[in-house]
Subunit: 382 residues, 2 copies
């Protein structure tokens, strides 16, 4: 902890911290179009800087047939949904519906809405686990088939979701969807870059990952991975500009974020193999907070992700008593711990991704100290 | 010139060079989601960093009702075209056609193709000027009306185009389109950030600009400006997430490029008022190259933009004689002049945007020296 300036526990930011050395290297790529001096007509074919090699390395990293750089996971989901909509819904083959897990991120809903698609959500188990019920894909897909006389356009699985960090049973879900001939898109914005991920192993067709969320990358950037024949739909070439892919509008991430991903990928390959240690820290923090502060952990058990979501009644009671919703935020900031949502006290959502064991102890000790002091002395005796 | 490491004459990169001081300030914003620590639900409403103020300043800078950050000019054009398609084409009010100037950039064609729209091009004058014929909008719009029984969805004007740097008669074109009730989108990727631009003055509905192309900004980023009632269509809120704009998928440029634009805007405000001096340099370079090397300037005269496109028969003859298409690229690189397309000798497209008078002389003198030497001694006697 002592080497670090601050401890960052923000779930959306902990996986996106760029190594300092790479930041300095990026200085010379911060000009606009820094990717494009040796343009040969397509970003993904560029050899200098070697974006083509980046794409090939990502195809290996994600284990899929094709990778394309996109502006983020949401833009990747929209690209898939809208391309599929034009091919299958407009031509009458499929219903304008995405069957999505009940924990799906709001951006998947926006991507569907923008693509003129309805979203049907599968059930989750009750409080406090909120696990996606794999079998409910069977039920929801069948309902769409009955109602529309054709299968839904797409199934979406958020792996893991950003609320509870739950990892759904991918294999089971994909098997169900495939038995109905429904293509599957995985939103792995919280997985790719943190943990090992093989699209081929899942049996799904598409995956999106987020550079700025989990791939230690300057944003905005994301990756879209594809296995199999739907690639023809999503990566179709323009009728007018033969080398350009229509759904990507030709070239996508024409600048520094693409260079950053190129430079950071070797580091990502190393860090994903240390995922178990990251999960162990998360479990350790969760255990201590449950035992010492009676925080109530939401989501599946045992934890399999660094994202932790707690109900925190003692924090809420303090905030009511001292009439200050921001006390925790301010106290943690004094201790150089940042990333807690200011003003939220009933719940706490954190990521332990950047915490080593001693940081984890410092974080929990700080919380315990703050809570006990405020409970004992309130606001006036600080 | 002596202070600079290299002279950059690349048309797509000369307007996107970020001032060094701002590059260093960006170092602390290179982590993923660097915009989002104090998220209040919408990027454009953020107060820390002050993206809301950036948006308001841009609304003033571009002189329009609404500005949104987008991933680039092409993404902005797609956002407009697709939103308008859903509102007007799918509901039967307009024909699925964009009437575009004959010099339109390929990305406008891709944006239309992705939006399921056809493109009808207006005429340009002949070689060597290739000026957009304003009156042809009247003819092409009328043809669409006759063929489809309804007006085209949208008119597009590229201001200026990226091939010849021609500035079409905006006012005249917009008047024609408006007399047919056709909304107008201006692609100002080569204008906004270089020269003063007022969307309100043009009478058009939409404009897109490019951060990485002309706004001295780390890419990818662009701006979408809107005047008037079509804003309701393009900026409609989600039915499911009430604070989120559907066509933007919630938030767009969530990272360093947005911070860069925030920091660079005061500099842009200053540089656009010096546009006349930039044009004078372009004219000076064009004059010298025409006189001294018989380069043939394409595009309108007098020049009103830093983008210069020449036919260069003497360069081509040298390349044939010495059997090396890359001689010019290599010779210029030796002299620290970069940005000429390697291997292209029949034509030369450059931007003089970054050249001061002495740089301009160094550039022209270098070309003259190279051409005369190769013509005299060929390749073997270098």
């Amino acid at each position: 902890m002592l080497q670090k300036k601050v401890l960052l526990v923000d779930p959306i930011r902990s996986g996106g911290v760029v190594p300092d050395g790479i930041k300095r290297e990026l200085l010379e790529y911060l000009d606009g179009y820094s990717t494009c001096l040796y343009c040969t007509g397509d970003l993904h074919e560029l050899r200098k800087p070697n974006i083509k090699k980046l794409v090939e390395s990502l195809e290996e990293f994600i284990d899929c047939d094709y990778v394309r750089l996109v502006h983020g996971a949401r833009e990747g989901m929209f690209t898939v949904m809208f391309a599929m909509f034009k091919e299958y819904v407009l031509k009458g083959a499929r219903a304008p519906v995405v069957v999505a897990d009940g924990n799906a991120h709001y951006t998947s809903i926006l991507a569907a809405e923008r693509s003129m698609l309805d979203v049907v959500f599968t059930a989750t188990t009750e409080h406090p686990e909120y696990c996606v019920v794999a079998e409910d894909y069977e039920k929801k897909i069948s309902e769409v088939e009955r109602e529309h006389g054709k299968p839904p356009l797409l199934a979406l699985v958020t792996y893991p979701d950003g609320y509870y960090g739950n990892l759904p049973e991918l294999k089971r879900i994909v098997d169900i969807c495939k038995s109905h001939g429904v293509p599957v898109l995985i939103n792995a914005a919280y997985a790719i870059g943190r943990m090992k991920f093989s699209l081929r192993d899942t049996g799904a067709d598409f995956v999106v990952g987020s550079g700025h969320k989990s791939m230690a990358c300057t944003g905005p950037i994301g990756v879209l991975g594809i296995v199999g024949r739907e690639a023809e739909i999503v990566l179709r070439k323009s009728k007018f500009k033969e080398e350009k892919e229509v759904e990507l509008l030709g070239c996508t991430v024409r600048g520094a974020p693409a260079i950053c991903l190129l430079k950071v990928l070797p580091y990502l390959k190393k860090r994903v193999v240390k995922w178990d240690a990251k999960v162990n820290i998360a479990r350790y923090v969760a255990d201590r907070l449950e035992k010492e502060l009676e925080f109530r952990l939401l989501g599946e058990r045992p934890r399999r992700h660094d994202l932790l979501h707690f109900e925190t009644p003692r924090l809420y009671e303090i905030s009511v008593k001292i009439r200050d919703r921001f006390f925790l935020y301010k106290e943690l900031k004094k201790r150089k711990i940042i990333g807690i949502k200011p003003g939220i006290t009933k719940r706490m959502k954190i990521s332990t991704y950047l915490l080593e064991k001693e940081d984890a102890n410092y974080f929990v000790d700080s919380l315990v100290e703050i809570v006990e002091r405020f409970e004992k002395y309130g606001f006036t005796n600080r």
